[in-house]
Amino acid sequence: MATPTQHHKRRRLSPALHDVADELLFLILDRVAADDPRALKSFALASRACHAAEARHRRLLRAFRADLLPAALARYPTVPRLDLSLCPRVTDASLAALSTAPSVSAVDLSRSRGFGAAGLTALVAACPNLTDLDLSNGLDFTDAGAAEVAKARRLQRLSLSRCKQLTDMGLGCIAVGCPDLRELSLKWCIGVTHMGLDLLALKCKKLKILDLSYTMIVKNCFPAIMKLQNLEVLILVGCNGIDDDALDSLDQECSKSLQVLDMSNSYNVTHVGVLSVVNAMPNLLELNLSYCCPVTPSMSSSFKMIHKLQTLKLDGCQFMPDGLKSIGKSCVSLRELSLSKCSGVTDTYLSFAVSRLKNLLKLDITCCRKITDVSLAAITSSCPSLISLRMESCSLVSSEGMHLIGKHCSHLEELDLTDNDLDDECLKALSGCRKLSSLKIGICLRISDEGLNHISKSCSDLREIDLYRSGGISDVGVTHIAQGCPMLESINLSYCTKITDRSLRSLSKCIKLNTLEIRGCPMVSSAGLSEIATGCRLLSKLDIKKCFEINDLGMIFLSQFSHSLRQVLTLSSVNVIIAIPCFTIVLITY
């Protein structure tokens, strides 16, 4: 029971709060929550007015138990988003218990099972303003459920990924019932055929984003898709029913609205089909043909018909001679180029290509094992505005090449140099990249604490650093990083065998840290983990596999303090795992 004085104090504070406009108050709360999420709870407990303000401020309700949803909605009557992804089982009964919640516009049931058409009826009836519904992974979702979903007439975004029982009947119901639909995911809906898509194209003319990945769509589905006048994003990943013949049926410039096309993993498409696509969709901004077909010069020169192309992803493709060269000739406006795991990318072709692509901002040449310093020189000299460079496992590039990155690409924000010949001198050069926020230098055995010191001094914005198996570093280096980069959110120290509890103690000062991977660090003990647990309250992902010194004590600390913890990778040697709050997903790996 509150004492009278406390009560009085609250009363006195409340009127002041009323004077503050909600918008202003929310800004303040946003700032407070950004610094320390737990502050909001304290604020809500201050007074009834604060409590009400906090209720109004909340945008998302992430429930742990679906059966108490009515109570939660009563507590937060204005919350717009309802996330049930932490409730693995949501029954029809719990959905039926929902009272009318006009504020709720988005519901996420993507990880929930156990509800059927009756539950959806109740949900749709309770949320008259529903615009966003995620029913992914609904293996029990049937056409009957779809018929109920179709009653949500204001629906704009609907995800039905992996609803494998859905057929044209259900899709037809949705198409007729939800004319405002703008975004629809039918990934893995293998029961959907051209008939359902025909109806969809006819009824949902506002559709902008359509995901048909891994469906059985074939040639006769294209006329329907091309009828969608507002379609901007079309995702056709892994549609093996699409072949050159199907694409050949596309009319010239049949879809002028389409901006993004993802046809990766469509094995039956060759350069002939790509040519048809290019002719049919002249306004593409992004084209993803990863793992599709060999890139021939004729194919890549056909890209010049897409004047505005900004992003081109050709991961895992085999480049024919001059294929890459003609990309440089034809795609001058390119901003993002992804060539990871491509074969046939050589110094000559890559240098030529990047020398033409002056606007390039992002380049991914992961595992292009043939390139050498020549390419890197070309990249750094011709693309000075690069903000992202991924070149994991480019083993022929020497440390001299790495120097060039630091010298020329000062705008880099993301750099992946994993498994390269990197040394401290290079890191010193990289300290020129002051905007760096993500640095991956795993498996660089030659780097040491000194290199990290350079990084920590210049890259204060660093949020993510990967030091996987960088055996040269010790507590000193980690301490440098922890002190120099207070914004650090994620650090990977797996198999850095020299680090001890001292590293963890220093890392505990990075209060934003949410991911910590210290797998295979035998010198880390429960004491260090307890420091992390008390210091990094936002920790959600933790990998302590093969840390044999960590025992139950460390886990108890985690359970007490790390309430955000979602995933712990640990070993069976640890016995106490259960004491972590109920929403935490604990993976025990043996």
Partner: protein
């Protein structure tokens, strides 16, 4: 009555062998049974007589008659002398035939005279009179047959008249009520007896000649029973009128000429035969069967002699016989496209096709679907097929219109604003029924929990506390990923923290 009937049957059949072997009638009543069989047999063995196609006709009949071999053998013995060697075509034969006809007519005359004389004397001899009448009919039939065959022997298409003779004979046997019901086999397979005759037939040059010229011989043999007209009227009805035969004859002839050589043979069954429920009859009890196999099974009950492997064996095709030409069927309904007279005649492939076609196209639809009470069928199998799908697996629109095909439904839905595909009602009902009780239970359960939440009524602190506890425990307090919650339910070993939001609360 019985005796009379038997006698008549005997005489009627005896007439045939006597015709064929050019012998005088043997009227001995003691040898009736034997004679009947001997007639059968003699026909088989003498296909090259003045009416070569006649014997196969009987062959088929005898096969469906189901006469065990031993019996035939026994009864056949005394009359084996009747079998004559083949006689070639010549005027002599014609003469003998004509003289036989004379004899026969005289015979009939006598009978009729005796009947008229008796009629005046004995009024009560009703059965006697009937028997006489039938006898007359039978004899007349024989005369007709003989006449036609004799005349036909001069023509190339002499077989058709013979065909028509068969039903008359069968009809007679039926009316006589003798235990040997004649089945007319509807299956194409020639019987064993029949096949046995074929090699003999082919031996004679005349017959071969005929076959070559006609190109229809072999199938006709097996199909003669089907072709026969069956005037299954009352007793003593007249044999088929002559002009009918003539029409058929010309039909067949014309068909054969128009067809490309060797393509197929067209057969036409009669309406009654098509609609007959049974095509195989038991000789002993007269029971009818649809299949000869069923008849064979039935016959086992009549004695051990029907249980021999030979008797039970399926009459199989003799490999030595020449392959039967492709046979097609014509619908007897004149004007039908399946009728051979139609300009764009399309033949039917099997007897079953004929039956189904005739029932579907030219018969009343007497079977009504019990589900929808609208659809009618004349073939019961069609009704069963329909009933399987009636009212189910329909593609349904929200407007109540049903479609048999999904694409039709989608076309309809696309056409009309506001119409939506509807799921079958029974499915929805099932799920609804299952879910409903759960829902109400849940409602009650939640209602009974009875949480009191701020904003609704009370203002006091304890209430707030309780709510906060719930709040912390059951949903995260943050709108972004790293969420957390209080953990009051878990025991806290040792280190209670000051940050606990509830630690400062008075309790």
């Amino acid at each position: 009555m019985e005796g009379g009937l038997r006698r008549i049957s005997e005489t009627s059949f005896k007439a045939l062998p006597s015709m064929s072997c050019n012998s005088t009638r043997n009227n001995d009543p003691d040898q009736q049974g034997g004679r009947f069989n001997s007639m059968d047999q003699s026909c088989f063995s003498r296909p090259d007589q003045s009416f070569p196609a006649f014997s196969p006709l009987f062959g088929v009949q005898s096969s469906s008659l189901y006469l065990p071999d031993e019996k035939i053998g026994n009864q056949f013995e005394p009359n084996s002398s009747l079998n004559n060697p083949a006689v070639d075509w010549d005027p002599q034969t014609m003469l003998t035939n004509l003289s036989f006809l004379e004899q026969k007519i005289k015979q009939v005359k006598d009978i009729v005279q005796s009947m008229s004389s008796r009629e005046s004397q004995v009024a009560g001899g009703c059965s006697e009179v009937q028997a006489k009448q039938q006898l007359v009919t039978a004899d007349l039939t024989c005369i007709i047959i003989q006449l036609i065959s004799t005349a036909g022997s001069l023509l190339p298409s002499m077989k058709n008249p013979l065909l028509s003779s068969n039903p008359a004979v069968r009809h007679l046997s039926n009316t006589l009520g003798s235990p040997m019901g004649f089945g007319f086999s509807c299956n194409q397979q020639p019987s064993t007896n029949n096949e046995a005759t074929i090699p003999e037939i082919t031996k004679t040059p005349d017959y071969e000649e005929l076959m070559n010229s006609l190109n229809t011989t072999t199938p006709d043999e097996s199909d003669e029973p089907m072709k026969c007209q069956n005037p299954c009227g009352g007793e003593g009805s007249e044999p088929i009128p002559m002009e009918d035969h003539d029409v058929k004859e010309s039909d067949d002839g014309g068909e054969g000429e128009n067809l490309p050589p060797g393509s197929y043979v067209v057969l036409q069954l009669d309406k009654e035969e098509i609609l007959a429920p049974h095509t195989h009859f038991c000789l002993i009890c007269g029971k009818g069967f649809k299949r000869d196999a069923n008849l064979r099974m039935h016959m086992r009950g009549h004695g051990d002699e029907y249980k021999t492997p030979a008797a039970l064996a399926k009459p199989s095709k003799d490999s030595s016989s020449e392959p039967a030409p492709v046979t097609r069927y014509s619908c007897p309904y004149v004007g039908c496209k399946r009728n051979k007279e139609h300009k764009k005649f399309q033949p039917l492939k099997t007897i079953l096709c004929v039956k189904n076609h005739y029932k579907r196209s030219h018969c009343d639809k007497s079977y009504t679907c019990s589900r929808c009470n609208t659809k009618k069928f004349s073939v019961i199998a069609d009704l069963k097929t329909h009933e399987k799908h009636c009212g189910r697996d329909k593609w349904l629109c929200s407007c109540g219109t049903t479609f048999s095909r999904k694409d039709k439904l989608f076309g309809h839905v696309a056409l009309f604003q506001g119409h939506t595909p509807a799921l079958p009602m029974d499915d929805v009902k099932v799920t609804g029924a299952l879910d409903q009780p759960q829902d109400s239970e849940a409602m009650n359960a939640v209602g009974s929990i009875g949480y009191n939440f701020p904003g609704s009524s009370s203002d006091d602190i304890p209430n707030l506390d309780m709510k906060m506890a719930d709040d912390a425990r059951y949903f995260s307090s943050l709108s972004f990923d790293p969420c957390f919650g209080g953990l009051d339910d878990f025991t806290r070993p040792g280190f209670d923290i000051s940050e606990n939001p509830f630690s400062f609360m008075p309790s």
